[in-house]
């Protein structure tokens, strides 16, 4: 028999697939774009959830990775489209419009950034950790605004989406399928990692650092590894998001972006592998349904978020699927 959680997972993934497919038949391309947005935000949330839900690392600076992923896309595509090189010394490095290469670079650079930020931030914990991650993201935000080479505050437009072998990525449904495929891949990897030796040890460190130490492992190493994986996933989402919009700007680095990614995680259910996907989908739905009700729709959004925190702990998954069942 399927557990409630498994049922919810299946329903969610089916809905995310069926809505765009239906929209495709009905020629409502914007609905496809909207779902793509939810899928990409879902991936960003999965990234944060890996550090936050599994490792207990409350990062308010994941916009740093989201933004970096976006700029990797923007910069590489910009150089490829203008036939210029990223650098000419010590070796010539051209840009590219191949999505797969862009993803790889985004993942690697975000992981590297997460390694740096994590190594420094993990010297602290608790509120200090929240604030220092926020500070690092703010640093990148101001840097992106004032660095003129790639548009500064104006951002960078790339007009056409990057290439993916055999597909016309400008067609909303095809680009959606690419993102959906990546979502499945990321979900699969995270699902596996949560059940792996690393996942077991990381979860134990979140619940009780002393225990892990007494068993001969250093919690900091577990945290740092989790933070790097987390940053890499969010960086991938950033690259996809920039490709969806064909545009990247410093807004992706802003602290509101970090806050929104955190909202996806909490709305869906902290620590639930599929939670951020549900959270992102609900957020997009709220944004577009409330946005039509009133100019002041942020008030309603705020009230709903507040309600979730105060009365629906555990988010959508906590509400529907109940307490998390210890997995085996």
């Amino acid at each position: 028999m399927m557990s409630k959680e498994a049922l919810l997972n299946t329903a969610l993934m089916a809905l995310l697939l069926l809505v765009p497919l239906g929209a495709w038949f009905a020629d409502e391309p914007f609905l496809i774009t909207l779902t793509t947005r939810a899928v990409i935000f879902g991936i960003a949330g999965i990234g944060l959830n890996f550090a936050l839900g599994l490792g207990g690392l409350v990062s308010l600076g994941h916009a740093a990775f989201f933004g970096l992923g976006g700029y990797v896309m923007g910069v590489l595509a910009y150089h490829a489209q203008t036939y210029t090189s990223l650098m000419t010394w010590p070796f010539e490095l051209p840009g590219t419009t191949a999505m797969t290469i862009i993803w790889l670079v985004a993942i690697c650079l975000s992981a590297l950034l997460a390694l740096g930020i994590g190594a420094l931030s993990l010297r602290t914990s608790g509120v200090y950790f929240i604030m220092i991650t926020l500070a690092f993201a703010q640093m990148l935000y101001y840097f992106a605004i004032s660095w003129p080479a790639y548009g500064g505050e104006d951002g960078l437009s790339i007009y056409v989406r990057n290439r993916f072998v055999g597909l016309n990525t400008m067609d909303p449904i095809q680009f959606f399928m690419v993102c959906y495929g990546l979502l499945l891949l990321v979900l699969g990897l995270v699902w596996a990692m949560a059940r792996s030796a690393f996942g077991l040890a990381l979860g134990a460190a979140r619940q009780n650092e002393e225990r892990v130490r007494a068993l001969g492992q250093k919690p900091q190493r577990l945290y740092l590894t989790a933070f790097v994986i987390s940053g890499a996933i969010t960086g991938l989402a950033g690259a996809l998001f920039a490709d969806l919009n064909r545009f990247v700007s410093p807004t992706m680095f802003s602290w509101q972006t970090s806050g929104e990614i955190m909202i996806f995680v909490i709305l869906g259910g902290v620590g639930r592998v599929f939670g951020p996907v549900a959270g992102a989908a609900l957020f997009i739905l709220l944004e577009y349904s409330l946005g039509g009700l009133s100019d002041y729709w942020h008030v309603y959004l705020g009230a709903i978020l507040l309600g979730v925190v105060l009365f629906a702990r555990g988010g959508i998954y906590g509400l529907i699927a109940g307490r998390e069942v210890a997995h085996d």
């Binding site: 809505v19 239906g22 609905l31 774009t33 951002g155 545009f247 577009y288 946005g291 039509g292 100019d295």
Partner: protein, 394 residues
């Protein structure tokens, strides 16, 4: 300033319907789009919530006033709030083009949002009429046959400020702007027309609200005048603090910090400041008088620069519609290029890169009764086009 604290928010039937359709389709499966009526469908993406909403609301109100006055009921306007976020603006433009199937887009206030939306929209064959932002790339190498700017090229008002400063005999100006592309463009624009020396040049942090440090540097610099470009709340803060500092040098700036909406928040600190604008509510033309009166009658407040731009944008659109059908892109484009409408700012024509050729005035901030407002005191640049015409190969 007149507030209507509990005024009913502008009804957005189209977007509401769209949201309901979205909800319905999410649950019940997609419904087919409605058949299109004749006439034209306009998508307006502008800032209606959060910081800077005042500008978007003015553009929208000015635009809708013109549509209302035209008496045409075949112009459908879909209005959406971009929240001043570039990614939201891009999503909305996708929505306008893909779902709403609009013919013309307009409304964007901020250059960075315009840079995100315009190139993609015009590449898909839509017309874009800019009621405010005029970033230099869109005037130069990135110009496009379907992109028309009805306000100004971003540099224009700064160039006028530079010209005015030279004309007024300022020889040693201190200039400052936020450290972002529009800021660097502003200082470049000023320097293009300014002939004197610079006592100092400062880039401030975007969103900065305390200018004590900069004002101290102005005081120490030996400058004879100050030029600043600090849009929104930044300008309010600067002016209040500058007036209080007792530095007392003459100040020149573009109209953005002296707009009707902002001026009341600055108060007496702005009195006497010179600013450059392509429009002013006291411009002596029949079209402008009619606009100012009808705007006040409709909304119960004085119109702003942005409202005039929204109004002109709609009238340009209407003038083109009277001549050609929007489905005939070439004819419609030619009709837009003719700019055959009564602009609130007097003579108006398009340069070859589809940016305005217009007079730019110098205004002074004065107090009329209880209200702070602007009065025209002269002409800074006559029939000014822009510096990027030659970069545009259209």
């Amino acid at each position: 300033m007149t507030f209507k604290p509990f005024a009913k928010p502008f009804a957005l039937p189209a977007s509401l319907a769209a949201s309901l359709a979205l909800l319905a389709s999410a649950g019940l499966g997609p419904i087919a789009g409605q058949a299109q009526a004749a006439g034209v469908k306009v998508g307006m993406i502008t800032t209606l919530s959060g910081g800077g909403a005042g500008l978007g609301i003015d553009v929208r109100d000015g635009f809708m006033l013109a549509i209302k006055q035209s008496g045409r009921n075949d112009v459908e306007v879909v209005i959406e709030d971009d929240q001043r976020k570039p990614d939201v603006a891009v999503q909305l433009s996708d929505k306008m083009i893909q779902s709403e199937k609009v013919d013309v887009l307009t409304g964007i206030i901020w250059s960075n949002l315009a840079m995100a939306v315009v190139p993609g929209a015009v590449a898909q064959g839509k017309f874009y009429l800019s009621p405010n932002a005029g970033p230099s790339p869109l005037a130069g190498k990135g110009c496009h046959a379907n992109y028309f700017n009805v306000a100004w090229q971003n540099d224009n008002l700064h160039e006028a400020a530079g010209a005015y400063a030279s004309g007024a005999g300022h020889k040693n100006a201190f200039i400052l702007a936020p450290n972002y592309p529009a800021g660097t463009d502003a200082l470049a624009g000023f320097k293009r027309m300014y002939e004197g020396e610079l006592a100092g040049e400062i880039y401030t942090k975007l969103g900065q609200t305390d200018y004590a440090s900069e004002i101290a540097q102005i005081r120490a610099s030996g400058a004879d005048s100050v030029f600043f470009f600090l849009p929104g709340g930044m300008g309010i803060s600067f002016l209040k603090q500058y007036a209080d500092s007792g530095v007392g040098l003459p100040v020149v700036g573009p109209a953005f910090s002296f707009d009707q909406g902002i001026l009341q928040a600055v108060g007496a600190a702005a009195l006497g400041v010179k600013n450059t604008s392509q429009w002013s509510k006291d411009l002596d033309s029949a079209a402008n008088k009619a606009f100012v009166d009808s705007f006040q009658a409709e909304y119960g407040r004085l119109p702003s620069l942005y409202a005039s731009q929204g109004f002109d944008t709609a009238n340009l659109l209407l003038s083109a519609l009277a001549k050609a059908d929007v489905s005939d892109a070439d004819a419609f484009r030619a009709a837009l290029e003719a700019a055959d409408f009564a602009s609130t700012r007097g003579d108006f024509a398009f340069a070859s890169n589809h940016h305005p050729i217009q007079d730019i005035y110098v205004r002074e901030v004065v107090k009329e009764g209880d209200v702070f407002t602007n009065k025209i005191i002269g002409l800074a640049l006559e029939d000014r086009s822009n510096a990027y015409v030659d970069d545009c190969s259209m």
